[in-house]
């Protein structure tokens, strides 16, 4: 599968051959930082000054590189496909090799970042538990009522939420049973067949 690069995109990337490979490598690093943490205009300004070009040029160059890397990572294209896609840009072989290396080095992390882009449901972070025994309350003395208190930490869109919940021993056993069944499901023939055949 080859990448489809628009004219505008090619224009932005056209900046890259004009600088030496150390700068391209640096841009690659900025591009991944951009994905991790968002744009940092100060970096663009600093680079623009050092290279004697406009901030826009730098920004477009980085964004073009970012898009190249994310599209390649998203589709998980092969080395060969990446090389062929970049070939149309008419860059030097050295630059092509550099870009390929950037792709290979960063694609795993980029895919991780991309997978976190659309969390619809909160996701599990951690769980703490505590055993309690209620001995008395205002309405009844001399009780022995065991319970489990659970602190469930979830992530949603980067924010942490905490839920404090309680359950009784019988429900706890049921929870464990049900969720163990869920884990076992992946090992069934049905799921194995799906995993094998859906590629």
């Amino acid at each position: 599968m080859l990448l489809d690069l628009s004219e505008e995109h090619k224009e932005h990337l056209a900046f890259l051959p004009r600088v030496d490979s150390a700068v391209v490598a640096e841009f690659g690093r900025i591009a991944v930082e951009f994905l991790r943490r968002g744009a940092n205009p100060k970096i663009y300004e600093g680079a623009a000054r050092k290279l004697s070009v406009s901030t826009d040029t730098v920004q477009h160059g980085v964004e073009g590189l970012t898009y190249l890397l994310t599209e390649s990572s998203k589709l998980l294209i092969s080395e060969l496909d990446f090389q062929d896609s970049v070939f149309v840009l008419g860059f030097s072989e050295e630059l092509n090799k550099l870009l390929l290396q950037l792709y290979l080095d960063n694609r795993k992390e980029i895919r991780t970042i991309l997978s976190e882009l659309a969390p619809d449901l909160p996701s599990y972070h951690s769980l703490e538990w505590r055993l309690d025994v209620q001995l008395a309350s205002r309405s009844l003395r001399q009780q022995i009522k065991p319970s489990v208190t659970i602190k469930l930490r979830l992530n949603q869109n980067g924010a942490h939420t905490t839920q404090v919940l309680q359950t009784d021993p019988a429900t706890l056993v049921r929870l464990v049973q049900q969720l163990e069944q869920a884990l076992e499901e992946m090992k069934t023939n049905h799921c194995r067949r799906v995993v094998r055949n859906v590629k």
Binding site: K74, L75, L76, R111, L114, S115, L117, A118, P119, L121, P122, S123, Y124, S126, L127, E128, W129, L131, S137, R138, S139, L140, R141, Q142, Q143, K145, P146, V148, T149, I150, L152, L154, Q163, V164, L165, Q166, T167, D168, P169, T171, L172, V173, R174, L175, V176, Q178, L179, E180, A182, L183, E185, M186, C191, V194, V195, V198, K199
Partner: protein, 195 residues
């Protein structure tokens, strides 16, 4: 046991065969337990023909007093001798004391469950449901090929009677972590109950 004068007077009245004959006493006693334990019970519980001859004000007073005393006794997990002692002091005859203690013993468990359920507590997990998906692609990411779980905990709030749900997703490692921790809790619980 701290009982108000209203309650004490009401209970003492119940001892008097002049105010309550044997039949009326039994009926009133049963009505008191019924009012406490039967969710559907209302004032009609006192609407028995054999109680009609008694002044309604007296009837209500003694009914309320008996119910209050029963609750106090259940709250303190009073035993037969505590009950007997108090009822003797109220001038109950042997027969009525026996009847009271028998009714109390029969209903003790239900009373304890009732009293134990009153009070606020944290949201209580009642059930769990899960869904296993095999993710293939999203618009951001293709060729994913990984299993993902969605877990929903059904939760009950004692005071607000609401039933919110807590849903979250997790991958296999996270679910293993979750299950591992819950299993630890269950094992600790088992060990604690064997001590």
């Amino acid at each position: 046991m701290e009982l108000s004068e209203f309650v004490q007077k009401g209970v003492q009245r119940l001892a008097d065969p002049g105010s309550f004959d044997s039949n009326a006493f039994t009926l009133l006693l049963r009505a008191a337990f019924q009012s406490l334990l039967d969710a559907q019970a209302d004032e009609a519980v006192l609407d028995h023909p054999d109680l009609k001859h008694i002044d309604p004000v007296v009837l209500k007073h003694c009914h309320a007093a008996a119910a209050t005393y029963i609750l106090e006794a259940a709250k303190q997990s009073a035993d037969k001798s505590t009950l007997s002692t108090y009822l003797e002091d109220c001038k109950f005859d042997r027969e009525r004391i026996e009847l009271f203690c028998t009714e109390y013993q029969n209903n003790k468990n239900s009373l304890e469950i009732l009293l134990g359920s009153i009070g606020t507590s944290l949201p209580h997990i009642t059930d769990v449901s899960w869904r296993l998906e095999y993710q293939i692609k999203t618009n951001q990411l293709q060729k994913m090929y990984r299993p993902a779980y969605s877990v929903t905990l059904n939760v009950e709030n004692t005071d607000s009677q609401s039933h919110p749900e807590i849903s979250f997703r997790c991958n296999m490692e996270q679910l293993q972590d979750l299950v591992g921790k819950l299993k630890d809790a269950a094992k600790s619980l088992e060990r604690a109950t064997q001590l």
